[in-house]
Symmetry: C3
Subunit: 433 residues, 3 copies
Amino acid sequence: MDDRRNENLTGQTMHGWMRDLFPVCRSLTGPGVRETLAYFARLLPDLKTHAVPSGTEVFDWTVPDEWTIRSAWIEHEDGTRVVDFADNNLHLVGYSHAFDETMPLDELQKHIHSLPAMPDAIPYVTSYYKRRWGFCISENARKKLKSGNYRVFIDADLKPGVMNYGELILPGASCEEILLSTYICHPSMANNELSGPVVAAALAQWLGALPARRYTYRIVFVPETIGAIAYLARNLDAMKTNTVAGFVLTCMGDERTYSFLASRLDNTLADRAARHTLRHIAPGYKEYSYLARGSDERQYCAPGVDLPVCSVMRSKYGEYPEYHTSLDNLELVTPNGLAGSLHAMQRCIETLEANHIYRVTVLSEPQLGKRGLYPDINKAGSYDDETRLLKDTLAYCDGKHDLIALGERIGQPAWEVARVCRTLEAAGLIRKV
Amino acid sequence: MDDRRNENLTGQTMHGWMRDLFPVCRSLTGPGVRETLAYFARLLPDLKTHAVPSGTEVFDWTVPDEWTIRSAWIEHEDGTRVVDFADNNLHLVGYSHAFDETMPLDELQKHIHSLPAMPDAIPYVTSYYKRRWGFCISENARKKLKSGNYRVFIDADLKPGVMNYGELILPGASCEEILLSTYICHPSMANNELSGPVVAAALAQWLGALPARRYTYRIVFVPETIGAIAYLARNLDAMKTNTVAGFVLTCMGDERTYSFLASRLDNTLADRAARHTLRHIAPGYKEYSYLARGSDERQYCAPGVDLPVCSVMRSKYGEYPEYHTSLDNLELVTPNGLAGSLHAMQRCIETLEANHIYRVTVLSEPQLGKRGLYPDINKAGSYDDETRLLKDTLAYCDGKHDLIALGERIGQPAWEVARVCRTLEAAGLIRKV
Amino acid sequence: MDDRRNENLTGQTMHGWMRDLFPVCRSLTGPGVRETLAYFARLLPDLKTHAVPSGTEVFDWTVPDEWTIRSAWIEHEDGTRVVDFADNNLHLVGYSHAFDETMPLDELQKHIHSLPAMPDAIPYVTSYYKRRWGFCISENARKKLKSGNYRVFIDADLKPGVMNYGELILPGASCEEILLSTYICHPSMANNELSGPVVAAALAQWLGALPARRYTYRIVFVPETIGAIAYLARNLDAMKTNTVAGFVLTCMGDERTYSFLASRLDNTLADRAARHTLRHIAPGYKEYSYLARGSDERQYCAPGVDLPVCSVMRSKYGEYPEYHTSLDNLELVTPNGLAGSLHAMQRCIETLEANHIYRVTVLSEPQLGKRGLYPDINKAGSYDDETRLLKDTLAYCDGKHDLIALGERIGQPAWEVARVCRTLEAAGLIRKV
């Protein structure tokens, strides 16, 4: 009951953060990113914000110019303002350059994006690496555009500046690291993307409050793709040396399903922990191979980088109808949806933290009865689930199975096995290898 | 026909031994165990009986005191004897201490065990490591107990003595060993346990009469759990060095099904031989993983012991309704049921004895025709099953497949492949590696 | 369209060759084999014909005497010629010795072969290694034989001579070889065997005309079994050293299905290329394990020889009703059937020729947009199948997947992946390992 109430509270808190951050116009660069990072820095005092100058070469890429958007609208010659960025920051194609011209409807149409199949939705469109301008409106709004001339006005800067990202290192007993990466470059959309950084922040608070951490946690808030690439370019050696598991946190807010996207190498420690967790807490979860990838695992798992990074999600990007539209909003994402994702990630991390290899200290079965761990009478029904769990755990504490393998072998959640292992270790019957 | 008649005779013989031994009150220790071992020593003159003193430490355990039970009963104050150990030795909880007191029904009830769901059955209950007393009766009998006072009388000793076990070593050409282990600690029950030692004895007679043995056979009759642990403690080094395969012989007497319980390591030579045998002689057999274990494989397969030990059974302990009750009797176990288990074990052992790796002596296909092993005309139908078996065997005598792997590969029983291998070896076409 | 038209033309051409060669009476040895080889030598000017003298020992076998058949018939005493080899060369049991005697019908019957279940078909029968004589007729014809005496006349030689085979080596950039083996010892039958050598010849012409070959091609036309054994005996070392993949070409002419017969080692490069090809061009193809073998893979894959040789077929020998009868004729085999087999083998070979291992040259994802390989706007639908193929290829160019593995991993035909790899290699984004 307490757990459930805590989860609800945390879900509400995360949803509150989302409501604060939803209106901010994030993009790869610019003030919206900085505002978002500043918000998280208030939640996570040790979060550091970094800046990479435009033009910096990072692997095969170049950090683009910084984009600042102040206002953008389209007005009909009759004075009606038919689109205004102030109403919804999806209305403007991301990275649109400054513009102020009047043109007939025919010409304007070439610069308008809408979704005929979803007539109420404003689509999300960007053009980071080719200079253009454009507006996104609903198909219904588009149909209402009257003939005549329109003034198109965009007050934006696109010029050398910086790309920002946030980084929080939570040291643990070991320099081995777990990577948590999320992205902060999408304007007002909820499941993809705000649910990711919000759950990342709650997870970071929870990790920060743990009495002890086995692993060091590297938690990064980056613009997707170019941000992850720049971050990798700056930190590749340390990350290749230290990372034992990693997760891209994205699409963590709706309640429809749980999803898993495997790493490129497919059976890393991260994949094993995530699959094991989902099998037990969400048995009907959807599994996607790396072929369905689409976020920053594309960078972390690339050949030569080869980090063990996968994703635990709710409805996966590209797989739900509201994806990349104005309908991916604060109703789609719920406190319960967020709390479920946080819980799943906590179970993953608990599993990793407890993922030791044990070996029994005695030959043949230990006499559990004399330690009060076994019924003192042998009759039908005297042998309960807990006894079974304890004996199965002992049977496979052979110095070869780690906790996850042990759980898989005996068909029990790793966190239950971990609990039993603590009992057995305290009784001197098993020892960490 | 002869084989079948022999099997029937052997089945009848084994069932006869069971009838002799059924009334004996076996337990972990005491005169019932010695009487049972003495019976088997008459069948197997080389069987040696050993004794381990009470109090001996064996790995994590201590050999318990010896239990001698002379009589036990409960009488109502009206003089009616409502339960008497003399009627059925399941009536007394195993290892009950001496007792003589009168008490009201309410108090007595706390010491009575019955099975509401099986109202005719007397349950089997023991309390080896905690001193208590108790009686087991059918639910129907329990319901008939009148109010009033009862005298409870138990004439038993529970004091330092010995724990006995039997051991028979049949030497073979190699010091590599096959372990056959069965248990002799259950009072009057038939499938679990008398079928096990009885089939073990028949198997030992058959092995002893073989003209030659490739392997040495270590055949042990031990009290379950503590007996196997004590035996291991005394023989661990030799057993770890020499054992190539082992089988716990238990639950070998009914006719309902065949079962297989895998070793902990799951794919040892013993598992491979047993699975291969059962696939061919009992295709619908039930397979259980090591998680369903329950007998002395728990000791032999424990981490650090790691012997390759599995079980070929009929209805497995815990999986048939009569298990551990008075209904597990001489009607449940039949001559046919016993003969089938013996036959399965013989096939397993024949497979192990013949499990060589062969390599062909010629490059490309040998010309079988010139050796009379192939039809001398090539027409439809000239190519029969025996020719196919012979050519398939040759195709995989590549120095990599052992006999079992060969049989699995070509879909034929190892004993048929062994027959063909003898022909091919005699013709000089294959050689043992 | 062009491809399809070319295939039809090639199919017609191959079928024309079959019509030319169908009437020739081939056997293990003799003029029919030489005539067949001479025909192929006109199509393939570099084809060399070799001769192995009768009596030569080749591994476990001895090359048999040469068989020359001039005429053979049976006449009833009333002057009716009831069977004549001149009508169909299947009428005579292969390798029948010379004979001229008159005998009653009863005696004659012992030497006559027919198929009661296929009353119109003349069966195909040989007796290479035991001297006998015999005739094959349809069951219907057999039923019409009248009582009385028959003169049996066979004008044949069976005496020391040679066994011939053909060999064509097409050198490539590497001395690593691909083996194509087909057989030329069957009289007038179409799917088994003429389709095999005819497709081999077309494939050889296509290979000879390629602007470049990575591999050397060893193409052999041998009498089945003894010819392959003799060829192996002469070339074993070179073949074991150089062969990376091989195919027995047989049963390539009907249109009913595609089939695959695995090599003995089952997952060699040849098997991988063949399975991959068939999965994409004939998804419903039938797969046979090596246990269903029946042609010269029996020699090439024998233990100790161990060449990676499998078969891509249409209806497999032994699996279609007309097999080894006079109904396996030029109607069963069609131009389309032959063209399909040729196409499948060409895809296999293209796959092998392109089967490199690649590695990306940059860390993290390359920026495809700046090379014109990626859409310059990010909106729904901008990401097409070609972009997906390109990115998936890059994701697995990790220095570990060869082309076939890459295709299997991403679910695309190797030849499509090869095309993309050429683009990526030209762009400097991947390099051969």
